[in-house]
């Protein structure tokens, strides 16, 4: 229903914008899309992907040659995968945009994706859109209903603001990627039943509106941005409530998923120093449980990413990053502070164009907790808009570590994509 409402809203806006401007300006439209076939096999001999994806996008604009008065985009995505049994038809981008004050203000309403941040792959401040974590290593961003404003205050300064009227959580990892939840019963009782998950996602009310703003300064040679977001956690805090069954010493467990409020303060930027571009990004997320005393509420956390992009003459383009995660631990039952749990990862990305048709890319992430993953990919352009890709995924490390639980998911995927 939410998708249908958004579609109707955006199509209505699009129609209104088109009618408003068609009297004195030419409407230019474009239709594009892509189709992709995928086949993936993992280390256990299981096909983890065997499907097809198709998307179709209609976009257009009215106004002058350089800066339009208004524009729109509507995208539909269809996917069918025999390996997972999933068949979906979803609305992708579906928005209308008005350009005001000679284009210095852009107001975009509808289902949309907004990117904030500077670093590669891991972006602590890029929190506006939830993600599809069905395959966690891909985690594609999901467009959501939003009003997004961007104002160019000066040639080197822009201000953005976003209002999200309805909360949409991230899609949880697919079954193959999940680790079994641990629901510890109270001592001295027997759990006779685990009830279906109670998902307490915030309703679309005025008090549950999500807001965010960002100011970016981009003078010559470097850029710097500061962001503030007032959101809900896109990944729920899971807990279990004890439900008496009526029988002595026997209880049922009620798993609950709660999405607590989150204040995120972030900074990011990049600077070109000769041959190297340095990038950095950091964010701190404050929850309603700063001391970690309430297990039903998420704890404060932070993430810092620093990296460098280094072009190797006649060689690959390298990106090296260090990622530091920190989260307040739950307090002890006596109320004693649990301190901060830290995690450090490194990420190395190498991209190399072998020739005009062949590209190599490899991503290696190593977690200092003793695990990691490697993702090499080879893509070949058969013809204009026709690309084949062979990608691998290798996870290593003991069970219980960040990537160790994904060892069984190691495998390879072949795909063929046609853009039109």
């Amino acid at each position: 229903m939410r998708v249908e409402r958004a579609l109707v809203t955006v199509l209505g806006l699009t129609l209104a914008v088109s009618l408003s401007f068609s009297a004195f300006a030419q409407l230019r439209t474009d239709v594009s899309g892509s189709a992709e076939l995928r086949l993936g096999l993992d280390a256990s001999g299981t096909f983890h992907a065997a499907g097809a994806h198709f998307d179709l996008t209609v976009e257009g604009e009215v106004g002058s040659e350089y800066f339009p008065s208004a524009s729109f985009r509507v995208q539909a995505k269809a996917e069918a995968d025999a390996a997972t049994g999933h068949t979906t038809l979803v609305l992708g981008d579906a928005w209308a945009r008005l350009y005001l004050d000679d284009g210095t203000i852009e107001a975009t309403l509808g289902n949309q994706t907004v990117f904030w941040g500077s670093t590669d792959g891991v972006n602590p401040v890029d929190r506006l859109n939830p993600r599809d974590r069905t395959v966690p290593i891909d985690s594609e961003k999901l467009p959501v209903p939003m009003l997004h404003l961007r104002a160019y205050l000066a040639s080197d300064t822009s201000l953005e603001a976003a209002l999200l009227p309805a909360f949409v959580p991230s899609v949880p990892p697919g079954e193959a990627w999940r680790t079994a939840p641990t629901l510890a019963p109270p001592p001295g009782v027997t759990v006779t039943e685990v009830l279906p998950l109670r998902d307490e996602r915030p309703e679309a009310t005025l008090e549950n509106v999500q807001l965010a703003t960002r100011v970016q300064w981009r003078p010559a040679g470097f850029d710097l941005a500061a962001s503030y977001l007032y959101l809900f956690r896109d990944v729920p805090t899971r807990s279990a409530e004890v439900v008496p069954t009526g029988a002595p010493s026997e209880v049922a467990l009620q798993p609950v998923a709660r999405y607590g409020r989150l204040h995120v303060i972030g900074v990011d930027g990049s600077v070109a120093l000769g041959d190297v571009v340095l990038r950095g990004e950091a964010a701190y997320g404050l929850t309603a449980d700063p001391g970690g005393t309430d297990p039903t509420v998420g704890n404060p956390s932070f993430q810092v990413v620093v990296g460098a992009e280094i072009p190797v003459p006649d060689g690959p383009r390298l990106v090296a990053q260090a990622i530091l995660d920190g989260e307040t631990r739950d307090a002890s039952p006596t109320g004693e502070a649990g301190g901060i749990e830290l995690g450090l990862r490194t990420m190395l990305i190498a991209a190399y164009a072998v020739d005009t048709r062949t590209d190599l890319k490899a991503v290696w992430v190593h977690d200092f907790g003793g695990s990691g993953m490697l993702r090499p990919a080879l893509s070949y352009t058969f013809a204009d808009g026709v690309t084949g890709t062979l990608a691998g995924f290798v996870a290593y490390g003991p069970a219980g570590t960040r990537f160790g639980d994904w060892r069984e998911r190691s495998g390879a995927t072949a795909s063929l994509r046609v853009d039109f």
Partner: protein
Amino acid sequence: MNRTVPPARPRVRPLRRRPMLATGLVTVLALLCAPATAQRYADAEELMAAVEALPEPETLQATLQMTLTGASGQTLTREMRTWARGDQMRVLKFTAPADIAGSGFLSIDDGTVSETMVYLPALDRVRRVAGGQRGESFFGSDFSYEDLGGIDPADYRHVLLEVRDGPVYILEASALPEAGSVYDRLVLEVPEATLIPTRVTYYRGGQAVKELTVREVTEVGGYLLPLERRMETLERGTFTVIRQSDLTLDETLPDELFSERFLRR
């Protein structure tokens, strides 16, 4: 020398103009009064001064078709639209094929500000490109970012190697260390009639690595412009041809065109 796409650097002269009348007179005088190899310019300094002195259009808009040919002979095609103001500012946006359509490239170098940014629509992200990436391939083609930026005469020390029939000047340009070029030296063939280099061989590590061939030098709006440029990577045997059409010269372009805002649009 890249004359059809105005380069990032302010001192480069991507588009050269010489008055038609003057060109005609020079040609007639050359035919009537001089032997085939008679030359107007005695040395490299004189020649480069003449090249530098040529006027150029204030602005340029053009549609570019870029054809990439692999060693096997198979081709890929990219189409783009470009807007440029002098040598200082240039925006380039891909219109085809579909998988890269919308990608854009902004280059600004006005003597005090020098930066290059790339816009990738799939990520809706504008990225700063480092100076060292000037040597990288431009969207998979045989042209690098530096090649597209053109040749700044101030970055090279010039020596006249020989003068061939035409006359055609054979010029060696050795890169100055402070220029930061990815090439050691260039060898240019410059016909006196147009002063537009028709062939440039790029050397690195003492080896010829690329060769630029300029074709179809045509008068457009009072300017002599090469409509086709072919860059070959010699070791691989691959080449890229950039052909320009729909040229509009000297039309006022708004400042906002050379901004992140237009890149994202």
